[in-house]
Symmetry: C2
Subunit: 325 residues, 2 copies
C-alpha cells in the first residue's frame, strides 16, 4: 500500500480540476462542469484507486477510469434530479433548476459520453474487460432507477424487491469501482470477485444507513430535518419492514399516515416515527446494517493479501458506514 485516502483524493481532485470540459458550446459544457466540480466526496474514484493500490497496481493506470466513474456518477445525479424534481444538491440549485430541463438532459448526455471518454483511457490490456464491466454497470443503474420510479406508485413492495432495487441503483456502482480498480491491478479472478461482493454488501449497508439517518438521525449533525422520506412516501427499508411487522391497529395508522389523510407534515412524521419505534425498527435496522457490514468484511477477510494492505480500504469503508450525515 503506497497511498493514504487523502493522497488518493488529492490525485482525483487534481485530475478533475484539470479536466478540459470548458469546450464550446458553453451552454453544453458549463452545466457539466458545474455539476462535476460542485464538491462531492469522490467515494467512487477513491474506491477504484484503493482497489488498484491494494493489489499492487499502478494507481496512475486507474486514474482516468476512476475519473470516468465519477463523471458517470455525476451524470446519473443530473438526470435523476430531473426525474425526481430535486431542486437542491450539495447545497446548490440542481442543473435543471438553475438552467432548465432541456439543458440538464443534453448536458447529462454529454457527461455520459465524457465518462466513456475517460474509461477509454484504461490501459490497453484491460480495456475491453473494464469497458464491459462499466457498460453492464450503467445498464444496471438505469434498471435500478426505473424500479425506484415504479415503486413510487406501488404499495406492496417486498423486501426482496426493495433490496434488488437498491443493489442495482446504489450498490453495483461502488462494487464495480472496486472491481475495475482490482482488474487494472491484475488481481486474481477470485479476489476480484471477493472484492466485488464486499462492495455490493457494504453498498446495501450504506443505503440502509441513508434510510436510517433520514428517520433517526440527529438533526443537528445530519444538517437537515429528518422525515424527508416519510413526507415523500418513499419506499425505504423501514417503510417496508413497518408494513411487514405492523399489527392491525398500527397498519391502519400507517395507511392513514401515508395516504396523506393526515394533513400536517409534522404530524405525519411523528405518527410514522412512533410506529417505527413501537416496532423497534431502529434496532432492527442497525442489526441489519451490522449483518451486511459483517458479511461484507467476511469477503474482505477471504482476500489473500497481507492485512496491512487492506487497512486503507477497511478504514475508509468504516468511516462511510459510521457517518452521521
Amino acid at each position: 500500500m503506497a497511498y493514504t485516502v487523502e493522497e488518493l483524493l488529492k490525485k482525483i481532485n487534481d485530475e478533475i480540476d484539470n479536466l478540459d470540459i470548458t469546450g464550446e458550446p458553453k451552454e453544453l459544457y458549463l452545466p457539466a462542469e458545474y455539476c462535476l466540480k460542485n464538491g462531492g466526496k469522490r467515494v467512487r474514484p477513491i474506491l477504484t484507486l484503493i482497489a488498484c493500490d491494494m493489489f499492487g497496481g499502478n494507481v496512475e493506470d486507474a486514474l482516468s477510469p476512476a475519473v470516468g466513474l465519477e463523471v458517470f456518477h455525476n451524470f446519473t445525479l443530473m438526470h435523476d434530479d430531473i426525474i425526481d424534481r430535486s431542486p437542491i444538491r450539495r447545497g446548490k440549485p440542481t442543473v435543471y433548476k438553475k438552467w432548465n430541463i432541456n439543458t440538464a438532459i443534453l448536458s447529462g448526455d454529454v457527461m455520459f459520453a465524457l465518462a466513456y471518454h475517460y474509461m477509454l483511457r484504461t490501459p490497453g490490456k484491460n480495456l475491453k474487460r473494464v469497458l464491459d464491466v462499466f457498460n453492464e454497470t450503467v445498464i444496471q443503474v438505469c434498471e435500478g432507477q426505473q424500479y425506484d420510479i415504479n415503486f413510487e406508485t406501488l404499495n406492496n413492495v417486498l423486501e426482496v424487491e426493495y433490496l434488488n432495487m437498491i443493489r442495482l441503483k446504489t450498490a453495483v456502482l461502488p462494487a464495480n469501482c472496486l472491481k475495475i480498480g482490482s482488474i487494472i491491478a491484475g488481481a486474481p479472478e477470485n479476489e476480484v470477485r471477493n472484492l466485488y461482493l464486499f462492495g455490493e454488501l457494504f453498498g446495501l449497508a450504506f443505503q440502509l444507513k441513508d434510510d436510517w439517518l433520514d428517520v433517526f438521525g440527529d438533526e443537528e449533525i445530519f444538517g437537515k430535518k429528518t422525515g424527508g422520506d416519510i413526507i415523500a412516501n418513499k419506499k425505504t427499508w423501514l417503510y417496508i419492514k413497518a408494513f411487514e411487522k405492523a399489527n392491525k391497529q398500527q397498519l391502519k395508522e400507517l395507511k392513514d399516515a401515508f395516504s396523506n389523510r393526515i394533513q400536517h407534515p409534522e404530524e405525519k412524521i411523528n405518527t410514522v416515527k412512533k410506529i417505527y419505534m413501537q416496532l423497534e425498527l431502529n434496532d432492527l435496522a442497525i442489526n441489519q446494517m451490522e449483518k451486511y457490514h459483517q458479511r461484507a468484511f467476511d469477503y474482505l477477510d477471504k482476500i489473500k493479501i497481507p492485512e496491512e494492505f487492506k487497512s486503507t480500504l477497511s478504514d475508509f469503508i468504516n468511516l462511510l458506514i459510521e457517518r452521521k450525515s
Copy 2:
C-alpha cells in the same frame, strides 16, 4: 462487393428484430424497443456495412457496431423529441408523448448504454479505434444539438455557423458510420479519410435537401404540409441566405413575418415563400446541394478501388439525395 443494399438492410433488420431488449423492468425496455423497432430507413447501419463490404471486409464483423450506431441514432431521436417537444415521429406518438418525459429520459439513457454494448462487440483488433471514433461522434452530436437549441433564440446566425451546426448534428454520424465500416474492413488510412469526407459532404447535402423539401417540396409526395420550418422560425440554410440577400423592403417583410406579427400561419408561409422565390433561393439551394454532392463524389473518386466496388454506395447515396419526401 458481395451484397446489395436490400441484402444488407435485411441483415440489419434481422439483427435488430432479434435484439434482446425485452428485459426487466419493462417500463425501461418497452419504450426503447418501441423507438428502435418503429421503422426507420436504417441509413446509418447500411452505410456502415456498405463501407465494410466495399473494402473487402467481412460484413458480419461490422454488424454489431452497425446496430450500435442505429441504436445510438434512435437514442438521440428519443431525447431530441423531448427537447423539441415533437409529438409525432414516423407517424406515431413519440416516447415522451406516449409515456412521459421521465420515461423518455431514462429509456433514452439505457439505449445510449445499449449502443455502447453493441459497439463493444467490434472485433478486438479494431475495438479501441472504433470506440474512440464512436465516442467522439457522440460528443459532436451533442454539441450540434446544443448549437441548434442556441440558434432558436438568435437572429443573426451566420451561414458558416449554421453549416458547422448541421455538420455536427447531422453529417458527422453518417460520415463516421462509413469510417467505422471501413476501419473494420482494414482500409488504408487515406481511404478511410476520403470516405469520411465523402460522408460529411453528402450529410450537408442531405440536410440542405431536408430544408429545401420543407419549403419547396411537393406536398402530395412530401406527405405533409410544407412550411413547418417557417412556422417554427427554424434557422435553416434558406432562412439564413434570405436574410443575407434581402433588400431593405424584403428584409422588413421577413422580419415582420418571423416576428409573428402576421398572425395567420398560411399568410406567414406565403410571405416567406414569396421572398424566397424573389431571391431565387430555390435555384440557389439546388446549386448548393449539387456543389456538395459533386465535392462529395470527388472524394469517392479518389478512393483507389475498382469502380464497380463503389456502385452500391453511390447508388444508395444518389437515392437518398434525390428523395422527394
